[in-house]
Symmetry: C2
Subunit: 353 residues, 2 copies
């Protein structure tokens, strides 16, 4: 696979972003959804910020309070034996069966704009900020689907009661309307198709069940984009392959002559995230036609291998122009990069089932 | 709380049910949804059957094969060290992070009919039997909502890819139409309201998230009963109470002057299941008005305390006639019982929030 990584990579990094509060620092500008808007390429960035801690013995957890409509910041002493601080991303109460109890950073969505797709200017203010009780720990990993002149932006909504997927829409990337949570916990990595297929909207999604089942790709249908049903299992993990631990949709599905092309992420048990591709039937996207045996992109560049959470390439969106797929992708849970791939080469690399 | 348990309890027990295959035995006839149909009370029973094993060293796992449209039965030797057989309900592959790998029984839905609500006749054949790849381990815990002359029957669909909630509809309790999975894994204990509220259908549901969040009650809306969205958190567990470990909706919500009354189940950490009550706003059922501090029904009778999985009362439906709530409920994951309670007494027992 020929991959042309931009010389400017990372195209956006935390240092390029002004924190939204003076007592915070930006630790991530990554996993952006992308869209074409007028003559610009828009990135809807996930910005992760954490409260600056002047005392090295204190870890802070920012939590949005929907009643007071403001952030609260809780302090935890590193020597507090009730909590586990071994993962810098989270604070876990000992004995808590959950994966985490608090997050050490707050993520929200912010717009970056570019004329050439290489150089971006970042808006001063947040675009989507936590606004309800299902978003108290932040909003993460946005994707953008354009349908007509409306852009649907959807993202993981994180709170103590679970991680689900919520939806807003915008026509101008300034204001937005909130449509609530469209996929109940635990779910993320939703990708809404850019047009109806046989009269129905479709979305790929990624449940994370507890009792039985694994983090794999499902597909659902809708008539109005807000209510979803007829959930079907779509694509599963492969033992002994690069996508053997967890997987989920990446970019908005790309319509081609051969079928709907979905660029998805897969991770191995040692948490190495790569991008792969799967082809779905043009008239029935619940049917898998073909799949890549090998990743189309692997973490290799230094900005992909090293960072807050290294060895991660994670695309939430791509721009297709002719045969060129401009795949934007988060690197190392830190920054944004872009690589160009050939659409026909991706399609030819797939193994038909 | 005054509780009148029927003298006939259990009103249906496994011994009353002929297995659907001569090589199977019925081990459960429980957790039935109920409805009034013409002049009858209908129970949609969950029937659990297991393949008869003549060799005490062999445990069998029945699995529906959707391609061949038939059951397959897998044999496991009790001395196979790759598997854990300590829970008689499941077979767990050692090292499998899931709660289970196979089930030792197959559940499906079967109709019982009664003129008086005390004495039931059970249909000869299954009503809803596993029929697709999301039901290969069986269908469980049905509820029934009547809207007009259509009865919506929905249930947990269990398979290796997860446990979700699927929907069928019937007008005659003989044939049914399948509408697919309406709540993606992991989800169960769905309760569809019997009428629209302010132009929308509502359903209580019970996600089981993995990373963060607990088995608690949520609520969603729909315009067509098949597609659901605007998921909101509804009601949570209470520390140090009888409902501190897991909870979920029970009976179809009952419309009263005071609000929508939901009879729900709660379980403690030692797996004792009781029934409680919660009152939701009549015009906005996403709002909780009041809740019972104490259970309205606890496992006390011998058929509730002892059985396949003892200390369980678990209602999936009730018939309301005037002030009388005829609450049908599964006992000990084995049989069906019924108890009559006073609607006004339940309402008066609630603590307003």
């Amino acid at each position: 696979m020929h991959v042309y990584r931009y010389e400017e990579n990372p195209v956006v990094a935390p240092k390029d972003v002004t924190p939204h509060r003076s007592d915070f620092e930006v630790i991530g500008a990554f996993n952006a959804g992308v869209a074409k808007f007028k003559d610009e390429i828009i990135m809807v960035l996930r910005i992760a910020e954490r409260p600056i801690s002047v005392d090295p013995n204190i870890v802070k957890a920012p939590i949005y309070n929907p009643t007071r409509n403001e952030l609260e910041i809780f302090d935890f002493r590193l020597d507090d034996t009730d909590y586990d601080f071994s993962d810098p991303r989270v604070i876990r109460k000992k004995g808590d069966a959950s994966g985490f109890t608090y997050l050490t950073s707050l993520s929200y969505l912010r717009i970056a704009r570019s004329q050439d797709g290489h150089h971006f200017e970042i808006d001063d203010k947040p675009f989507v900020y936590p606004s309800n009780e299902l978003e108290t720990f932040g909003v993460e990993d946005p994707r953008v689907t354009q349908i007509g002149d409306t852009y649907y932006v959807y993202f993981s909504a994180v709170s103590p009661v679970g991680v689900g997927e919520s939806l807003v829409s915008t026509k101008d990337f300034k204001s937005h309307e909130h449509h609530g949570m469209i996929f109940a916990p635990e779910n993320k990595d939703v990708l809404i198709f850019p047009e109806k297929v046989n009269g129905k909207y479709y979305a790929i999604h990624r449940p994370v069940p507890k009792s039985i089942g694994r983090p794999e790709m499902w597909i659902a249908e809708s008539t109005n984009l807000k209510h979803w049903g007829n959930h079907k299992f779509l694509l599963g993990l492969r033992q002994d392959e690069w996508d053997n631990a967890r997987m989920g949709g990446g970019a908005v599905p790309i319509k081609t002559d051969k079928g709907w092309l979905e660029l998805y992420h897969g991770a191995s048990h040692d948490h190495r995230y790569c991008m792969g591709a799967v082809l779905l039937d043009l008239n029935d996207p619940t049917k898998v036609i073909a799949r890549s045996n090998h990743p189309i992109l692997e973490p290799e560049a230094d900005y992909e291998v090293e960072g807050f959470f290294g060895n991660v390439v994670f695309s939430c969106g791509a721009i297709v122009e002719g045969d060129v797929v401009k795949m934007y992708y988060g690197v190392a849970d830190t920054s944004m990069a872009c690589a160009e791939l050939s659409l026909s080469e991706i399609l030819e690399s797939l193994i038909y089932i």
